[in-house]
């Protein structure tokens, strides 16, 4: 019987890669609903432009490589939808397009087709945008005032600091921690509606699209560090609430860290990976320049994923045992 070496993700038991990507895309689309309801169709423009850019880059690469163009690859759609979720609604349209183009052309395609990339493309694209255009990436509008964001052109809005930026300065945000659940705070497009992010996470765990242990490890480590080393003068519980509910930490824990291609294969490896990524995210929040550090933290954690798998397998004395799915 010929054995062929398959690319990640390694799935079994009724799951298909296309099914997993479809579920992830559905979850990301669900995050667009509230922003569209509150602010009009502009979120759809940003998401659409980002997705189109991803597909255009993919087509370009297929033409250069003289391979057939396949539009059934949902992974490109997932990348195209993830990128604008980490950028502000008031960002110019070219910003998610630039980030998506980088994600596909530099972080994904040079390493081969789906399943070969060592880094999460969305995290790489947003990190690139954050380093090149930090003023655009970390500038948010004040959602407490009514705005109409035109589909094209600039909107007039008042800039406001996100709770994550306030915490970075060592100050307590004006908003109560539990009010962060409803999504009416300054922040990236798809990360402020915490309840929706949580519900999407639950959907992904129940459909086995995402591994719960990664998110649990991520949030556990972040909560522990927030409790032991609060950035503001408050009780540990308040610090944990602010840290977990502000910024793109929860989004990163649910959507980015659980990427089946770039996360470890073994259960123990995934637990350690999640905790490592969570700890790194908190390190970036403490010592990094930017208010959001989850993308940078995830890229470093992605690099350690193969080492974690090797370490786990070596500890088990692996000799021909099957991998866990």
């Amino acid at each position: 019987m010929p054995l062929t070496k398959a690319a990640a993700p390694f799935v079994r038991g009724g799951l298909t890669v296309a099914g997993m990507m479809r579920n992830a895309a559905l979850a990301l689309l669900a995050l667009l609903v509230l922003p569209v309801v509150h602010y009009g169709p502009r979120p759809l423009l940003l998401a659409g432009a980002s997705v189109l850019t991803c597909f255009a880059c993919r087509v370009l690469v297929c033409l250069v490589r003289r391979t057939s163009v396949s539009f059934s690859e949902f992974s490109v759609l997932v990348t195209g939808l993830s990128v604008p979720m980490l950028l502000p609604l008031n960002a110019p349209v070219w910003l998610p397009c630039a980030a998506s183009a980088f994600a596909v052309l530099a972080a994904r395609e040079p390493f081969g087709p789906f399943g070969r990339n060592p880094f999460n493309p969305s995290a790489a694209g947003v990190a690139f945008a954050a380093l090149c255009w930090p003023q655009r990436v970390f500038s948010y509008f004040d959602p407490s005032r009514p705005y109409g964001f035109p589909l094209f052109g600039r909107a007039a809005y008042r800039a406001a600091q996100s709770p994550a930026a306030v915490l970075k300065e060592g100050l307590k945000p004006d908003i109560l921690p539990l009010d962060l659940l409803w999504g009416r705070t300054p922040g990236p497009l798809g990360t402020t509606a915490i309840l929706v992010v949580g519900a999407c996470g639950l959907f992904l765990f129940l459909t086995r699209t995402a591994k719960w242990e990664i998110t649990a490890g991520f949030l556990g480590a972040a909560a522990l560090i927030a409790a032991l080393y609060p950035r503001i003068l408050c009780s540990p519980a308040t610090s944990v609430k602010y840290e977990l509910l502000s910024g793109s930490l929860l989004f990163g824990a649910v959507f980015l860290a659980t990427d089946p291609v770039t996360s470890p294969r073994t259960f123990s490896g995934r637990c350690v990976y999640g905790a490592f990524a969570g700890a790194l995210t908190m390190a970036f929040r403490w010592f990094g320049t930017y208010e959001q550090g989850v993308c940078f933290a995830l890229l470093i954690a992605n690099a350690f994923a193969p080492l974690l798998d090797s370490a786990v397998l070596r500890l088990r004395g692996w000799e021909g045992k099957t991998h866990e799915a």
């Binding site: 530099a106 690139f128 090149c132 255009w133």
Partner: protein, 213 residues
């Protein structure tokens, strides 16, 4: 006459290998630090290239003539000493030709002393080859390094100032100043060269196939 012709052809091949086909940066992964950290404009690229040439040439020649006299285990230290001895003159000459360029490079200028491309050619290649080959190699590698430096410097400089023709994106700001941009550009340039080398190898194989019935 025939020997001179062979020597010239050999030197030409060595020169071209250093310049392009076995470029020390894009194929050998040598001398990366000054390019990714300091080649941020055409001016800095020129300064780096000049320093490279002014170090590679004397180091290569000195090690060609005297390298075999030193014990093998001591040769790396000797290369570093020779490079250190050549550096003040090289820096002074570079500053004379391009005023203010060396100080503008900061740490990268001083670290050219231990540039891995200069070091490896002087330590491994020069002692075991004739002077003509060493000269051709030094010039080829210097031009190869300069080519990559100018490409990187020009692209980063254009992107930083937003002067790319037909540019639709605003200037990339300080982000492209960072080493990561240099590494990413090197990746694409190395891919281009690898593609060229593969095409060349395929054509050579086809020519050989046609000659042998």
């Amino acid at each position: 006459m025939k020997r001179n012709g062979q020597l010239l052809r050999g030197a030409r091949s060595i020169f071209l290998n250093g310049l392009l086909f076995r470029n020390p940066v894009l194929v050998g992964a040598l001398g990366l630090y000054p390019l990714v950290a300091a080649a941020r404009s055409v001016g800095s690229a020129a300064a780096l290239s000049l320093l490279f040439l002014l170090l590679a040439l004397p180091c290569g020649l000195i090690l060609c003539f005297f390298g075999m006299l030193a014990p093998r285990w001591f040769r790396p230290g000797l290369v570093l000493l020779v490079s250190a001895a050549c550096y003040p003159a090289a820096a002074a000459l570079a500053d004379l030709l391009l005023p203010g360029s060396v100080s503008g490079l900061g740490m990268a200028a001083g670290l050219m002393i231990c540039n891995s491309a200069v070091y490896s050619r002087a330590e491994e290649y020069a002692p075991e080859h004739v002077a003509a080959a060493v000269l051709a190699d030094a010039f080829g590698c210097s031009l190869g390094f300069a080519g990559v430096a100018f490409l990187l410097g020009a692209l980063r400089g254009l992107w930083l100032t937003g002067s790319l023709p037909g540019a639709v994106l605003p200037p990339a700001g300080k982000g492209f100043d960072l080493p990561f941009a240099g590494f990413l550009m090197l990746g694409f340039l190395a891919a281009l060269l690898q593609w060229l080398n593969r095409r060349r190898a395929e054509r050579a194989a086809e020519r050989l196939k046609r000659r042998i019935p």
